[in-house]
Symmetry: C3
Subunit: 440 residues, 3 copies
């Protein structure tokens, strides 16, 4: 089913009240949530689930701050608070209307800022501002994915320019195809909360960036050797994962786009259960697999297993039974355990594992939708995966290459060795610890 | 009053609408929350308060990561994300129905997975999935308590096996006695949000584990000497405490089990106030007492004072006036200040102070219910405390002893000295700091 | 418009239902949110937005723990959990009623504890306890502001005594003038969510404290030299900022004081948008300005830019269009970039930058209200800014000077050099890292 901003089951419930005249149905109609109450429920749901997704920006920040070396931690924090801010501005200036304003089966909406109506004249089944807020934090999530992969060697300002283009143009256009009611939604593609539209989009942008930017100095040696560069703080990475897990209840639950009816409330509840159980299965799969394959459990794999389980269930968190959610999430966890070393063998340097988690598990989750949702087909799912993948990769690639050829996207070798905190920011993340203590 | 999953005041409110015919009551009935709106309120309340309790898993993780030494931090993070995952799976596979399905005055429900109905046919006063989610995070909380006490020397997999048994069998069975409508609820026991059912249960499991596992190497010397082993990060421990405090509003507030009526909304609000004020009193009591007794304020006592205040008010957060909430919470704080050194004198090694906080303050809070709730008696409260204590201790003890005799539950002395991060996980939590820098 | 606790648009909506008799309006009245449903919405809104503001206490703690040196981190954590606790107690004992009970155009309410009614007899348009909870966390926020500025040299207990006076007397009295319906509200002053009443109040108390307490040893040298004292953990400071940003949705959104009507739901949604966009503009302004002025981006300026944007929009988050919100927030970010070094030139030592963020941006935001809200005037805005500023500064100054003359407010030079963690608490925040490792 299409997920357009102006069609919600709350609206259908309101319709039911108006249409129902037969005595047999009178009681049901009488017990339906009144229209104004439904408006409040729907709007408040956008706000609550939206603030949970906003909180994911902090989750990405902590995850990435924990996974980079201490000499790049302050820069990673800078990039993350900056990207969330830029996403919020760009999605108002141009992104929202490009994604949602009059797409009507086509390829994009209008290049105009979003108008936020006065509360006294705010039409529809929910507050327009609540919907904008909810959609904005999704856009910010896509941008967050890129920052982790490219950490420790990309320059600050080129990264932020890319973020502005991603949030203002790339993300909204491919989003318009589906959630804006464009051609892909008419073709029958299904991506409930954004395994492809948010996570794979961020993942493709990250992958093209990683290839064009190149790996960190010293990461890959002669003869295929790989040098581990362990992250500076496992508790912060774990905290970030828990924040993301919490935020995902908003991400998937809020994507029901309505709360103001019994069916909506029950659907969101079911989404919460499937979201949690898929993440749990991703963790357990990663724990068991690393124990079996490597003889030791790996915490970063467990964390990424949780995230991969979450990404996997995001394309269809409503239809599966809990048993199916376990299967879908566990396969996400398995993907991560095998894909992280595979990327290293391909010498694609992904600092936090965002490509396995968001791109590959996103593809898996999108592909798996027809397993539990009868209204979809593998053919249209692949159509959506490929078309969005090609669009995002090509446009992202052009932007990265243009910037590489002009302003440059990579810090110098000396700056990289010194750490971006000192070279680009002129500060230390931990001036009294670790790298910091060696110089103070 | 019993807290069964299928009896909520929302249901009673709905009944009132149906029954009320007398003109004098017509206006009240007309203004009552419509049934479908109540369904949405009740379900959304479970989801919101449930995600707050889910967030407590991150709180325990940060608290414990901050209270263990740096060489065991990554392992503590691993155990926590694993236990939350395992709890979520086991409570679906067997826990929920064992606790709630047809207990009917008896000792346990059925050994079957929980069926999550389709949103289109989800009966009752709330979404079944929202209730499952809410109950599941409670089960996870009980498991979180154990991990802190046994930190720094228990092996990963035996701990996780215990977690699976605790969440799948031990917690649900004793929960069935009361919240499932079993024999203890029929006897008149009262435990509103789980001072005994969640916190003491976790505490008894932790205590038996601590005794059977033994203390950390070097903790207790000859002649009764005690060697302090300060935690690696006080800000993370403080963050964890704030997360738990925040989550507790969901823990206690959501235990009203309904939001969809004026009385429910007012009750939850009152519970928020009492929960906050009891925690505040626990902090202030611990601050004053440590200043008086030791001449210096102790941060870890203040943090545990907050938690003890929270545990203390959990058995009855609705009936007390704020003045009573202050008394109940402050006594919780006092218990912690005296019980932490007492446990050390008994040479029971509880790394984070979970036994004073969750077991002892849980007993106190449960015992104190008749002080403010007229419908209860000290006799039945003691019956509940003792019966659940004996059951959980005996079964937990058997499980610990069985594992000790077979697969072993404790790492080797060398592994313990080296730290579990390096020996069991093969990684460092802070590879550039502290213990890490000495080896890299 | 006055923001009194007993006048809400929900109440007006209820009134509309009762008054409306004309057939033309019958349909609107029929679709209005029923009174009991509105009661639940309003109460639940206070609880949800209130727990977000409560969470800000953790945000201040992390921000400050990250901005002080490692030898003072545990003390900063201690002060923050203690101040939140004391605020919660004092606002019940005397603060709430002093601020809200029978002010009636005057200067203060009554010196009595707040009575929390039984849920069965809880009158009004929302649960009384939910309102108390929401107002309490605002009071705690004002106290949090002070702790950051005075960090690293103020004694624990004098700080806590000041906190008790601030929360019990100073904050409630000036709050009574406006939100309690006192003389300032009658004069036409407008401060929607507290740029002046919460943030500048905390800022004035911090400024007088900083002047009377003096700067940290070694901060300012001869000839106007300024010695940077970088904070110990940038990721914790960033986490704190994200927590505060999240909490601010509750701070501003909840200040609508009602959710139970279409207009309320739409208003809160608009407030979320403006709050987010003003913060984003503050970040981007600080990033650009530090790049231009200093040639390097400064993370702490970006973080404080976010907070300054948030404080700036707090006085009027509803009326502005997004474009105006960008302007108002960006100017907040600019203020911070220029005011932080200015304070240093004045040798006023503000450890975390709370005076620029909360006091100066608070003044700016309050002054700017008439730019977008036609019902206000610059004259009455200045009246409010000045009258509250004078009151808080004079009373705070008297309290600080009295304590300085009696019990003393500053630790000794040796204690300061040693760090408050070791000297006042007898512990280390990071016993294995940084300062800690040098001594263990």
């Amino acid at each position: 089913m299409t997920r357009m901003k102006c069609i919600s089951t709350a609206g259908l419930a309101g319709l039911a009240v108006a249409v129902t005249l037969a005595p047999a149905l009178a009681q049901d109609a009488a017990s339906a949530v009144p229209a104004d109450s439904a408006y409040v429920f729907n709007s408040f749901s956008f706000l609550v689930t939206g603030f949970l997704v906003m909180w994911m920006a902090a989750g990405f920040t902590m995850l990435e701050a924990g996974m980079v070396r201490s000499k790049n931690v302050a820069m990673q924090c800078t990039k993350n608070i900056a990207l969330y801010s830029i996403a919020g501005l760009m999605f108002w200036v141009v992104g929202y209307n490009l994604m949602y304003d009059g797409v009507d089966g086509g390829y994009l909406g209008s290049f105009t800022p979003k108008v936020i109506p006065d509360p006294e004249s705010d039409p529809g089944d929910y507050a327009a501002a609540s919907d904008w807020f909810f959609q904005m934090v999704f856009c910010a999530t896509a941008a967050s994915i890129v920052s982790g992969t490219l950490a420790e060697r990309i320059k600050l300002w080129p990264f932020l320019i890319f973020t502005a283009i991603l949030c203002g143009v790339i993300y909204p256009i491919q989003g318009a195809w589906q959630w804006g009611g464009g051609w892909l939604s008419e073709a029958g593609f299904s991506d409930f909360a954004g395994s492809t539209i948010v996570h794979s989009t961020g993942g493709w942008a990250a992958l093209t960036g990683a290839i064009i930017l190149g790996s960190r100095a010293g990461k890959y040696g002669l003869g295929g050797s790989i040098h581990p560069m362990p992250g500076s703080s496992m508790p912060l990475a774990t905290l970030g994962t828990f924040i993301l897990w919490l935020g995902w209840f908003g991400f998937n639950g809020g994507s029901q786009l309505a709360l103001g009816s019994v069916v909506d409330a029950s659907s969101i509840s079911r989404i919460f259960v499937n979201t949690n159980i898929a993440a749990a299965a991703g963790v357990v799969a990663a724990l068991l697999l690393t124990q079996i394959v490597y003889g030791k459990v790996d915490l970063t794999m467990a964390l990424n297993g949780a995230l991969a389980g979450l990404v996997s269930i995001t394309a269809e968190p409503l239809a599966p039974t809990p048993m199916w959610a376990i299967v879908i999430g566990a396969i996400g966890g398995v993907i991560v355990v095998f894909a992280v070393p595979l990327l290293d063998r391909l010498r694609i340097d992904d600092v936090v594992g965002a490509i396995p988690v968001h791109l590959l598990a996103g593809i898996w989750g999108t592909f798996a939708v027809p397993l539990t949702n009868d209204g979809t087909s593998f053919g249209t799912q692949i159509l959506g995966i490929v078309s969005i993948g090609v669009f995002v990769s090509v446009v992202s690639g052009i932007v990265w290459l243009l910037m590489k050829a002009t302003i440059g996207i990579r810090v110098s070798a000396e700056e990289e060795a010194d750490g971006l905190d000192r070279s680009e920011l002129g500060m230390e993340a931990y001036p009294e610890f670790g790298q910091g203590t060696q110089r103070v």
